[in-house]
């Protein structure tokens, strides 16, 4: 919502483009079957389109709206998401605009009781978290999609019907210029929390709704405070409710405040009430200058998900598949990982590089990630909005102890998003091999980044396909050459990165001459191999190569085994 007198798109800082409806080729012509149609041009749908385009796969993207999201929703982008954006070729504008941060502070009745610093070091290419309004996120992704020349974006195009057949899918699309049928080999349903495709297919989200409502308000003000997350428990300005404060670019600040039990939500979102409550909070944090109200909304926490993210030729990604509480900033970040996961798998399938069964790994991997998020988000939602008197009392006890008792401070930790480890994935074939390592990322885990002697990062050396990170030397030097050829024969996008003192490297093999730190951080010795997936997760690792297992892992990752 916006203040009286301003339209839904009259932002103080963001100029909304207007995307015209265009006549679709299908309205004049017999329909072609598009390899991929993506429903929803939100951040998740656009990231899926970009990931496909990176592999040269075209997509049609439909969105009911004529522009981007009408208010600021997701604002925190996690490090892992920056890796996803970078791989999709879109990170640069995000880095130029977003505000990176590492620190959060919790206050109890005005006193600082806890400070957390998210893990960061010179070995990380990106900061643990960045703040950026969702409109910018969508705009940058949109511009990157257009630049690929492979994404056919159709605005003001609403999907109103779906026929999901074994051989292809037909979507009924309504536009201001008339309706038409659109044929697709694969549909990605990125149509958000109220997914029309979900309900048309008769599917329902299952899970829990949490007590407690939050008002989310964005204000513009000149306020001197670093980019940190501030959580105010029991503040004088909002007794009985928690307050969260985040800085965003363009002097925009996000104020989230919890409503007291029994407060009437309709009353709470009246403009005069929003102004009074936000004004009191700003006074409490010492803001003395003026401020302008930009946008507000009301929110309740849920942990809801589909049982299966794939139904025939339709795959659900982002909020259409799962809804998570905002505390811990997982909604958007979790969705971006969905988009990347299905993106590379579908691209491999459509380019004839992988078998159909590769898609079967999408639900276990990404639903597993969501269940992991639920476990953490449920805890933080119960802390942020205590559901019962018992919870309120225990929370009050730990918060009031936190100033003097160190053990009590961790309860105020927001459990920020961590990348999920695909330990139980059907693509993770040899997790037992982890036992031989004393350090390094485990099978299924996200790549651990390392800054190399020449200033580049390990993540910079990964290819578009599977990458073998090979530590040279040891008794197996010769079988490594043969293995490398076998892997390259399976995946034409395969790349080998060889670490250590080596002679002439064959064409296409990347060398890292001085890998001292890298070997140590990866628990590696001569003959160690890590097989890295296109999404920068570890497919498997072997302290000393076992060629048959490595080939079998790549086969599984290409959907060539049952």
């Amino acid at each position: 919502m916006r203040p009286a007198g301003r339209g839904p798109l009259d932002s103080l800082y963001f100029a909304y483009p207007h995307f015209a409806a265009r006549r679709a080729p299908e309205q004049d012509d017999a329909a072609t079957v598009h390899p991929v149609v993506i429903v929803g041009a939100g951040p998740v749908g656009l990231t899926a389109a970009l990931t496909l385009a990176k592999y040269g796969v075209r997509s049609v993207v439909l969105d009911a709206k004529a522009t981007f999201n009408d208010g600021s929703r997701a604002i925190c982008i996690a490090r892992q998401s920056f890796h996803i954006l970078e791989q999709a070729g879109a990170a640069a504008p995000f880095l130029a605009k977003a505000l990176g941060w590492t620190t959060g502070r919790s206050f109890y009745r005005g006193e600082e009781i806890y400070r957390f610093d998210m893990p960061d070091s010179e070995h990380e290419k990106f900061r643990p978290m960045y703040n950026l309004q969702q409109q910018y996120i969508e705009q940058f992704l949109h511009d990157a999609c257009i630049a690929t020349g492979l994404v056919d974006l159709r605005w003001q195009s609403t999907v109103v019907g779906i026929d999901n057949r074994p051989d292809s899918v037909t979507l009924m699309v309504e536009t201001p210029l008339g309706a038409y049928a659109l044929q697709a080999a694969h549909v990605l349903a990125a149509d958000g929390a109220r997914s029309a495709i979900r309900s048309k297919l008769g599917l329902r989200l299952k899970g829990e709704n949490y007590e407690g409502r939050y008002v989310i308000a964005d204000v513009r003000m000149d306020h001197a405070y670093p980019t940190e997350r501030r959580a105010l428990f029991e503040p004088a300005s909002n007794p009985g409710g928690t307050v969260l404060i985040h800085k965003q670019p363009d002097d925009i600040w996000r104020i989230d405040y919890q409503l007291r039990d029994g407060e009437d939500p309709d009353e709470a979102i009246r403009e005069a009430e929003i102004r009074a409550r936000v004004g009191a909070i700003l006074a409490e944090i010492g803001h003395q200058g003026s401020w302008e109200l930009e946008w507000w909304s009301i929110y309740t926490a849920n942990t809801l998900a589909l049982d299966d993210y794939r139904h025939g030729r339709v795959t659900f990604i982002g909020d259409s598949a799962h809804i998570v509480p905002i505390f811990g900033v997982r909604g958007l970040n979790n969705g971006l990982a969905d988009a990347q996961n299905i993106g590379w798998k579908l691209a491999y399938l459509l380019k004839g590089l992988a078998g159909e069964s590769l898609l079967d790994s999408y639900t276990p991997e990404r639903r597993g990630a969501t269940l992991d998020v639920f476990a953490n988000a449920g805890k933080s939602a119960r802390f942020m909005t205590p559901p019962t008197r018992g919870h309120r009392l225990v929370r009050e006890a730990v918060l009031s102890l936190a100033a003097t008792e160190a053990f009590a401070r961790n309860f105020a930790n927001p459990r920020q998003m961590q990348p999920h480890t695909y330990a139980d994935s059907p693509l993770t074939r040899y997790p037992a091999r982890d036992g031989a390592f004393s350090s390094g990322p485990a099978s299924g885990a996200a790549l651990a980044n390392v800054r190399l002697a020449d200033g580049r990062f390990l993540s910079d050396l990964m290819g578009e396909g599977f990458t073998a990170l090979v530590f040279a030397g040891g008794p197996v030097a010769e079988s490594i050459d043969a293995l490398r050829e076998a892997l390259a024969a399976l995946d034409p996008l395969f790349r080998a990165v060889v670490v250590g003192e080596t002679g002439e490297l064959p064409a296409g093999v990347v060398g890292i001459r001085s890998g001292g730190d890298l070997s140590e951080r990866y628990g590696a010795t001569g003959g160690t191999l890590y097989l890295i997936r296109p999404d920068l997760h570890v497919a498997g690792r072997w302290r000393t190569i076992v060629p048959a297992e490595i080939v079998a892992t790549l086969d599984a990752c290409l959907g060539r085994t049952a």
């Binding site: 009985g240 018992g390 102890l401």
Partner: protein, 72 residues
């Protein structure tokens, strides 16, 4: 001879948090003060010499304890 007990891990304390919240809800607001006092008595007895009860009382009586509890 007293053996200072190894403190519970944070993960274990998270479980305590949930168990205590659930117990308080079962007991209800009228009996919660008595319940918590009885809990302290039982715990002090079972912990034996492993805890310094006077120090525990002092820790719990710190600054935060004087403030009114907002729970309704």
């Amino acid at each position: 001879m007293s053996h200072p007990a190894e403190p519970r891990s944070f993960e274990a304390m998270e479980l305590v948090y949930e168990q205590l919240a659930a117990a308080l809800d079962r007991v209800g607001p009228d009996d919660e003060v008595l319940f918590l006092t009885r809990l302290a008595m039982v715990m002090a007895h079972r912990a034996g010499a492993a805890i310094d009860l006077a120090a525990c009382i002092e820790a719990a009586q710190g600054e935060g304890a004087r403030r009114p509890v907002a729970a309704s």
